[in-house]
């Protein structure tokens, strides 16, 4: 991504069109990961007797990968629709925290842009926007939307394709591709590091999450949200630090 740094000094690089294109371009490695994940979801959807069209529509209107996977997996294992819905919703509570943190990007925008922005907000383009910003580039709403469009296209196309071609696609795990997102989030976390002031909140988030996962029977997605909030609360309560 090194050549893109030169855009900082180019006049007009802050214009919304250029920012949209930068977001679309720089989300590509993540979109590739989403596509692989999407193919795997398509296989699962086929087991739940969904065709390519239904799978593509679900991807477009729900647009939340992990909750779709959990909800469909619940159905495949014989749980009722209510249990599947509850599991999918629980996994999406983290999106509440993501869109809550977008207030600067969304404030003062027309309603259609707010609705578009929140629907296209995913872990990947949201984290990419923050990581890019932490590296010193002033990116905002259109960078987020550009990245969201890239993720959306990859997700809808890959999940529909996976459902249509079920049986002809190898397991992503066979090529280590199931690890793509772990590696991506490691890189994003590195770029989010703002200095030693982050050590305590991040340590608290990791510690709380690990304790909840290891010691309590709580769903990992709840543990994740609780841990993230615990870290943010510590960052908020700490006084005299000029890193927030």
């Amino acid at each position: 991504m090194e050549p893109l740094l030169s855009e900082v000094s180019r006049p007009g690089a802050t214009a919304s069109g250029a920012e949209f294109r930068a977001g679309l371009r720089e989300v590509m490695p993540l979109a590739l990961g989403v596509a692989i994940y999407g193919l795997a979801f398509g296989l699962l959807a086929a087991q739940a007797r969904m065709d390519g069209l239904a799978t593509g529509i679900m991807g477009a209107v729900v647009f939340a990968g992990s909750s779709q996977i959990v909800a469909v997996e619940r159905v495949v294992t014989g749980a009722g629709a209510a249990a599947a819905l509850a599991a999918g919703i629980a996994l999406n509570l983290r999106l509440l925290l993501i869109t809550a943190s977008l207030r600067e990007e969304l404030s003062g925008r027309p309603w259609w842009q707010i609705l578009l922005g929140v629907h296209l907000a995913t872990d990947e383009n949201w984290a990419l926007m923050h990581a890019t910003r932490a590296r010193g580039r002033a990116v905002g709403y259109w960078y987020l939307v550009g990245g969201g469009v890239g993720i959306f296209a990859a997700w809808v196309a890959a999940t529909a394709t996976g459902a249509m071609l079920a049986g002809a696609i190898p397991e992503p795990r066979a090529f280590g591709l199931d690890f793509a997102f772990v590696a991506a989030f490691v890189a994003i976390l590195r770029n989010l590091w703002r200095g030693s002031g982050d050590a305590l909140p991040w340590g608290a988030a990791v510690g709380a999450t690990a304790a909840l996962v290891l010691v309590t029977p709580i769903e990992p997605s709840w543990a994740l949200a609780c841990g993230g909030v615990a870290g943010a609360v510590i960052a908020g309560l700490r006084r005299g630090r000029d890193d927030g």
Partner: protein, 101 residues
């Protein structure tokens, strides 16, 4: 309605509506919070804390191969700060470690 064992249009619609309500609700909540002080510091720290928590969950669900590959990815991320390079290194490392472990 789909037959038992299938995903119905109703389930898809309900999950879509609930997910959109969560996303919009987050925005409405965030827009009403103070712009400085503890709330602002907490929200500024939220992205890093959430990603750290997410990684903790993912790694706790893995084993030694995942932990080793994550360490390799962390080393490459520290040195390069590059997303594509870190993804390639992590995937290569997990393939190698799953062969030997």
């Amino acid at each position: 309605m789909a037959e038992p064992g299938g995903v119905s249009a109703g389930l898809i619609a309900a999950l879509a509506l609930a997910t959109f309500a969560i996303r919009l609700g987050g925005y409405l909540l965030g827009a009403r919070l103070p712009v400085d002080g503890p709330w602002a510091r907490g929200f500024a720290a939220l992205p890093g804390c959430l990603i750290a928590s997410l990684l903790s969950v993912l790694l706790l669900q893995g084993g030694p191969a995942e932990w080793g590959a994550a360490a390799v990815a962390a080393g490459v991320a520290m040195a390069s700060r590059s997303l594509p390079l870190t993804m390639v290194a992590g995937i290569a490392a997990i393939c190698a470690l799953r062969l030997v472990l």
